[in-house]
Subunit: 157 residues, 3 copies
């Protein structure tokens, strides 16, 4: 059994996270988060200005589950899909119980019978909770580069 | 000499595979496959429906060589090029002789004197054959997210 | 403390390099280069033809600093930003003092109040100088796939 470095553990986590979304296994998405967590989607402009309010916000895993239920009910996922391509993660800070990372992302949006487009680019600003060899997101701020992000977006980033 | 994990071996393979295509070293492309193999390009819609027929299909390395010869004869590569950007590979299953992986991809198409476009996104569904420290593709199903993929595509994905 | 392979060191370097640019920490960008270095941006067409002249060229770290000063003075960065997504690096050759690599890149350009576009794709052709566990770029030729690259580009790639 290979012994994984923290860097590798983070990469494997990020890979599994985007595979979950892009494979439409959205019901499993909240399991990447700690029960008490912060998930927020914002713009680089707001993030730099220190504005907390984002396009999307949740602070418990239960809220993330509610979000997916609403999304399934609205049937949004049937007409479109995402494809995330991530860059490597930068480990910014770490101690025995948590690690802070930044990971660049690019998301393409696939709409059936339409052309595939560059939907969003940006950075995940993450704080992971370390529990043995398991990682959980304590905090994920999805900072989108553009301010022209679709505010009706429903699928998690 | 560094000892590589299976995960690293797969990453190195994938990196070499797309470098081969994007550097126009297409004659070396079939060498990434086992002699008896399956290479297929299909859409997510067909893949979910379990339809075997794809946009492109081959089941021997010799067929892959034929494909490249035809492509060179048609001179397709002169006017366009691809740039693959891959995400990290997910190891889905493995035993002593093979490993099953999924790897997300994004391909940009560069046409000289024209604007670069987002050509395709999707996932490689792979089965690798393990021979010592060498990997060979026993099976690669290229599942494109969009159904609007150019069916005249000639360059391997 | 984890012991990093050369491959991992290169990946960490590349990740830090693009994070520096995309986070607008441009004053730190020259520090990724050796004092005597070659930084050049060119097209695949010119690169294949062996043409040295590129869209941008510098052969000392001091010239790179000058470039950033000019850029800050022109205030270019206020209106746009880049997002680099890199593929894995291929180690082409190495000895005790240097390593030669190729790394594919995709750059999105974010212009506020406008749509995000696919700005450039290509390959970094690098020669790194090894100094203990520290890497420095002795040479980076940024080879852009398309010949239609914006020649007024100011932000480093």
């Amino acid at each position: 059994m290979e012994k994984l470095s923290l860097r590798e553990q983070v990469q494997i986590f990020q890979t599994a996270y985007v595979r979950c979304i892009d494979s439409n296994m959205l019901e499993q998405w909240p399991d990447f988060f700690a029960e008490q967590c912060l998930y927020s989607v914002t713009t680089a402009e707001n993030f730099r200005a220190g504005l907390a309010a984002g396009l999307m916000w949740a602070n418990t895993r239960a809220m993330l589950h509610d979000r997916i239920s609403a999304l399934r009910h609205a049937n949004v996922y049937e007409r479109q899909a995402y494809r995330h391509i991530l860059g490597q993660s930068s480990l910014i800070a770490q101690d025995d119980v948590q690690v802070q990372c930044e990971t660049p992302f690019l998301v393409a949006r696939i709409v059936q019978e339409d052309v595939t487009s560059l939907f969003a680019t940006g950075v995940y600003h993450d704080v992971f909770e370390l529990k043995g060899d398991k990682l959980l997101l304590r905090k994920r701020i999805v900072v989108c580069d553009s301010s022209r992000i679709d505010t009706l977006l429903a699928i998690p980033l």
